[in-house]
């Protein structure tokens, strides 16, 4: 089954969705079945603003290796700044 194992964290920032930029409230992270990516499981992140409805959402589905590489890149970028 979809594990439904979700990590939610409050975030401050903005995302660009189908209707342009919006303020983010939350990032929902799970390692579960993807909606679109042709893999069994992916690391899925929904950047959302819960107060603005379901379309206030920026979604990504990453392979496990891609997700780990992204984590390293984020860490390096923050340290370099």
């Amino acid at each position: 089954m979809c594990s439904h194992a979700i990590e939610k964290t409050s975030v401050t920032g903005s995302g660009k969705g189908t209707k342009g930029w919006f303020s983010l409230s939350t990032a929902c992270v799970c390692f579960d079945h993807p909606y679109f990516t042709p893999l069994e499981r992916t690391l899925n992140i929904d950047f959302i603003d819960e107060a603005s409805g379901p379309e206030a959402r920026v979604a990504v589905e990453l392979s496990p290796d891609s997700a780990r590489a992204l984590m390293r890149s984020i860490q390096l970028a923050l340290e370099a700044g």
């Binding site: 089954m1 979809c2 594990s3 439904h4 979700i6 939350t26 042709p38 379901p54």
Partner: protein, 248 residues
């Protein structure tokens, strides 16, 4: 197979009298037809699940798939609506039961419905069908790899769902369970436990676990699709509903 069918989106009265959308398909003819409620998976009220609803119509059933995420995203794409529901911890059981009851009422109100109504669900819908079979007037049920029937979700997860096996004594119709041997939610150990409890309560059920298949083996649009398990599973489904939804 019925070559002539019709399909459309209808509005039904769901939980609390809320008006929600439902995808509905039926053979074109006078009937009487048995009916099936199709309970969609966690990814939402999507094209794949509507395709399953059409398949039932092609096999002689009036079939309806209520949009369980309608309140969070009735006008949004299925994946956006599903994400909103996921962020809130899933669909509350009470609300699901109200929506499913509305779908059953809708089917039984149709002049060409035989009055026999089954329910089938996939993924989270499998668990929901177990719940419906213990609570609502259905004549046969099919749980396709529904997890958290007998086990709790992982600790600390923002899920509203809890195990429903404590309702097993109330199971009111024959239950068919179709599972993958490689699935982890539900793992074979969980489905064995569910079977043991159903046996203790002397309930009518059949569970089949397909080797080489994991979660979502019916999903033709996903890499989890396993053609052999899916083909055998569909045969089991139509045999089950054929036996238990036949008119007297």
């Amino acid at each position: 197979m019925h070559q002539a069918m019709m399909a459309e989106t209808v509005t039904i009265a769901g939980h609390g009298g809320d008006r929600i959308a439902a995808y509905f398909a039926r053979p074109l003819g006078p009937g009487p037809y048995p009916a099936v409620v199709v309970v969609h998976h966690m990814p939402g009220w999507d094209e794949a699940t509507k395709g399953i609803t059409l398949r039932f119509a092609s096999r002689g059933y009036a079939a309806i798939c209520p949009h369980l995420h309608y309140r969070e995203g009735g006008g949004s794409s299925p994946d956006d609506a599903a994400a909103a529901v996921r962020a809130r911890g899933g669909v509350p059981d009470e609300r699901f039961l109200g929506d499913a009851a509305g779908a059953i009422d809708y089917l039984r109100s149709l002049p060409y419905c035989s009055g026999k109504v089954g329910a089938i669900g996939y993924c989270s819908g499998g668990r929901q069908v177990f719940l419906a079979a213990c609570s609502l007037p259905v004549d046969a049920a099919v749980d396709c790899y529904g997890g958290f029937v007998a086990e709790s979700p992982p600790e600390g997860m923002p899920l509203r769902m809890a195990p429903v096996i404590d309702r097993a004594a109330d199971l009111r119709c024959p239950l068919l369970g179709l599972f993958g041997a490689e699935d982890s939610h539900p793992a074979p150990a969980e489905t064995r436990r569910t079977a043991e409890i159903l046996e203790q309560h002397r309930k009518a059920f059949e569970f089949h676990t397909f080797p080489g298949a994991g979660h979502g083996f019916f999903a033709t649009d996903r890499p989890s699709y396993r053609v052999e398990a899916a083909n055998q599973g569909w045969q089991r489904v139509f045999d089950w509903f054929g036996r238990h939804l036949a008119s007297a």
